[in-house]
């Protein structure tokens, strides 16, 4: 079990304090896949590095299976780190080493004998599906294959924990899918606790058991994936939940709409969970006296419950009427974004 207790981390650059992590307390259970989601700059990268002490917290404790690893001596910490694998967005492989040599690297550090090393490397290559590529150099492989090397390398010393730092962010959707499948399998078969940080909601939706949402250094919401998706409370969580599954697509729609309707106002309404079943728009429209036209709508029932996104166009109406319209919608629990 990983326990983070009241972690604070402040970076000082050019005399300015940046609060990367503010009073984060978090328990991550053995064998679970725990997602930490947040926009860039939310502090999630720092938080995950505090778990293996690549960054030292300014205050608070990191307790892994009962050991306060912030208090370990350098040599003890290095031993402990061998039990915590880590994979990275940009893979961070050694270009000068072959696939096999890359995977053998952590074993060399752990002073594993040559024969045993080779045996373990062969096992790992099989595990991550890179048979036949052992003698290749990373530069000869695709992004997905590179991440597989990263995973094999991270698993070399039979860790209990695997930290994933935006592990799929540099990969295309299909490759992301296959890497997530691999991580899921590893979690199931080897029982390794996986902590993954990401800004991709699809990723947590697909494999995480529990998630924490991070914003401005704080954990603003925490719970099972089902809870978070069905009933997002915090503004940031709502934005994530309603933006799921369509990265890039949203931008395209919004751009098209702006071109089609150069005048007036376009508003994006998102509904999740229970409120998408209520006739909210109808209720609200009865209270305002300007016409509202729906220009794009998409309501569906995903595996995490009903969810809808709608774009409406307002061509006339005064500023105050329009403000009232937005307020009425927000009161009903709709997430309103003005484009």
């Amino acid at each position: 079990m990983i326990q983070l207790k009241d972690i604070i981390k402040i970076f000082t650059t050019k005399g300015e304090d940046i609060h990367a992590v503010r009073n984060v307390t978090l328990d991550i259970n053995d064998g679970e896949i725990f997602g930490i989601i947040g926009y860039s700059g939310a502090g999630k990268s720092t938080l995950v590095r505090i778990i293996n002490q690549l960054e030292k917290q300014d205050s608070g404790e990191v307790i892994i299976n009962g050991t306060d690893i912030g208090k370990l001596k350098d040599s003890e910490l290095r031993k402990e780190r061998q039990k915590i694998g880590m994979i990275f967005q940009h893979f961070n492989l050694l270009w000068s080493r072959t696939v096999e040599e890359n995977i053998a690297f952590p074993l060399e550090i752990a002073k594993v004998g040559k024969e045993e090393r080779q045996k373990r490397v062969d096992e790992l290559i099989k595990l991550v599906g890179l048979e036949g590529r052992g003698k290749a150099y990373p530069s000869e492989l695709s992004g997905g294959q590179k991440q597989r090397i990263g995973i094999a390398r991270a698993l070399a010393n039979n860790p209990e924990i695997l930290l994933c730092d935006e592990a799929t962010s540099a990969l295309d959707p299909d490759t992301t899918e296959s890497i997530l499948d691999l991580l899921k399998r590893i979690n199931k078969e080897l029982g390794i606790t996986i902590v993954m940080i990401t800004h991709q909601m699809e990723v947590v939706q697909k494999i995480c058991h529990r998630i924490a949402v991070m914003s401005d250094g704080r954990i603003v919401e925490e719970g099972t994936v089902k809870d978070i998706f069905e009933n997002p409370k915090h503004e940031v969580t709502k934005r994530f939940v309603t933006n799921v599954d369509s990265n890039g697509k949203i931008e395209k729609i919004q751009k098209e709409l702006k071109e089609l309707y150069p005048f007036g106002q376009i508003v994006r309404l998102s509904f999740t969970g229970e409120i998408s079943k209520k006739p909210i728009l109808d209720t609200v429209l009865k209270k305002v006296n300007f016409p509202v036209s729906i220009v794009n709508a998409n309501i569906g029932h995903s595996q995490i419950g009903p969810m809808g996104v709608m774009y409406v166009h307002i061509s006339n109406g005064t500023e105050s009427e329009y403000q009232e319209f937005v307020k009425l919608l927000r009161d009903e629990g709709v997430i309103v974004e003005v484009l």
């Binding site: 990275f88 050694l94 550090i109 150099y137």
Partner: protein
């Protein structure tokens, strides 16, 4: 082909050997010292493995001062040291200390550039695996920077050949000496051109070997 008789081939050969000797032996010292200084600078710089503002600053300034001194002045400056070390200030061996003094800081800079080009993420990943600082230097930093270091060695070696010619003109022997003493002073154009051609060929060969090695070891 009468102009060929103007050349004392034995003399040219001897000079060639001297030039290669000066370049080669100096290069060994330069690579060792340069790498050590380079590692020291890299590790003590801000955010480095052994961050230390004071050591970093002192070494940095020393390197800059040594690099600022023109080679020909360096030769005269360290004559006492050269005499102490070699017993003389003449001859090929006596040229080596000043060559090493001038080129080591230059090569050290090239090493720092090479090290800084090693992906920080790779070093972070090694730390995450539990590698010690020594392991990071020997197993990550040096192998990953090797192509750039080798390319730095060939650049330094080429510069060094130029320096040996300069020290040759003031008594160290080698092709520079032949070109100056027999070619220039005695107005023997053939010897001057021949010595020049030899230097150019050495430089081409050095650069060629360097480029070949880099292409062999660079797996990026």
């Amino acid at each position: 082909m009468s102009w060929l008789t103007n050349i004392n081939w034995e003399q040219i050969y001897e000079a060639l050997v001297e030039t290669i000797y000066m370049t080669g032996v100096s290069m060994i010292f330069i690579v060792v010292f340069g790498l050590l200084i380079g590692i020291l600078l890299y590790c003590t710089q801000t955010g480095g493995l052994y961050e230390n503002k004071y050591i970093s600053k002192v070494v940095d300034v020393t390197v800059n001062v040594l690099r600022a001194i023109p080679f020909i002045i360096m030769v005269f400056l360290i004559i006492p040291f050269t005499k102490f070390l070699c017993g003389t200030m003449l001859g090929a061996t006596a040229a080596i200390p000043s060559l090493v003094f001038t080129a080591s800081p230059f090569f050290a800079r090239l090493c720092v550039i090479a090290f800084n080009e090693v992906d920080k993420g790779t070093i972070e990943a090694s730390e995450a695996m539990g590698a010690s600082k020594f392991e990071i230097i020997t197993k990550v930093l040096l192998p990953e920077a090797l192509p750039a270091i080798v390319s730095g060695i060939s650049v330094t070696a080429v510069t060094l050949v130029g320096y040996t010619a300069m020290s040759g003109a003031i008594g160290a022997g080698g092709l520079g000496n032949v070109a100056y003493l027999y070619g220039f002073s005695r107005r023997n154009g053939t010897i001057l051109y021949m010595a020049t051609a030899m230097v150019v060929i050495i430089v081409f060969i050095l650069q060629g070997i360097g480029d070949y090695l880099v292409s062999k070891i660079d797996k990026r």
